[in-house]
Symmetry: C3
Subunit: 137 residues, 3 copies
């Protein structure tokens, strides 16, 4: 069994950003030389997500608006917000998910027609990481 | 290390449907002859989910009602709905999840007492797929 | 390829409880002697979650409050609640997630700075289990 690890770094200009990281995961998979296996991609920070959906800017606005309506930024009613202001980001991340696991077949991410991997940042403007871990043969 | 892949096809009669796919995943596991490992099951489309919960029709009605209340179908307020009408389905799928990873032990899905795997369709009435990828020995 | 399985048992005093299980998962990983691979941790019951976030009591109160507001306990409007009273717990578990998959590198859970694994109980006061399954080399 082979394994391969790579970390990606982000420092988004906005508090909330959704970034397509499929090219970087593709590249890591090529570097791994693994042909059959599983590829884990996860946020390493607890106010960020990795998820799979559509690369369509209107939809991304819909995600941001829905999340903001259901989990508004900053109100004093969050108990976590004594020294910090990011309780909403911790909740948003749970709703969008921490990680994805993708099948690797014939050396490729084995995706349906529109699947793309995104980094979802909910408390940005500082350096944060994503883990890629691939195991297989 | 062995690996095994199988795709399941669905074309649901309704826009929203929850379908128990545990028998098909069990069958794929038998075909794989893998005894110890991990079994990934994921929706290959971005308006559908794979999740594990209870096979109880009342609960399924509760899921559908709760999702419809929190993410209503079709209003013009979704930006994704310029050419499409399924922005709600993209959001519902995030809440229910894209995938499950199940332990394989002694050649079986290593489940708790009531765990069953479901395909969650939120924009049906067309052909869509689920991926099963099993790795192990 | 090696594999290792361990189950953890819980019987929480409250209906809703969030418990840090990182030490138990660390211990299981040591017992497995696996150095490179993937570690699956999942709830084996369908009214409980396993998730990764921050070990901060204020945030945990925020999670509980947000979930209770969006998915209130017990109202007669849940169809699942004919013989049971835990429909809300089934929905809450979907929002918080069933499982996490963690990279194993150099014999350790390969975590970002604040990542901790939690058992999320939404219908406690009885015996329930968590699965740890590790594969790798």
């Amino acid at each position: 069994m082979k394994s391969y690890k790579k970390e990606l770094w982000f420092n988004t200009p906005n508090r909330v950003d959704l970034i397509n990281i499929t090219p970087q995961v593709d590249e890591a998979l090529k570097e791994s030389k693994i042909k059959e296996g599983l590829c884990l991609v996860n946020a390493m920070h607890i106010t960020a997500s990795v998820f799979i959906n559509d690369d369509e800017s209107g939809l991304h606005e819909d995600y941001k608006k829905w999340l903001e309506e259901k989990v508004p930024y900053g109100p004093a009613c969050y108990k976590h917000n004594t020294y910090e202001d990011n309780a909403d980001a911790h909740i948003k991340r749970q709703l969008m998910g921490r990680e994805v696991v993708v099948a690797v077949t014939d050396g490729k991410l084995d995706f349906g027609p529109w699947e793309q991997i995104f980094y979802g940042e909910f408390d940005g403007r500082r350096k944060k990481r994503v883990m890629i871990k691939i195991i297989g043969e």
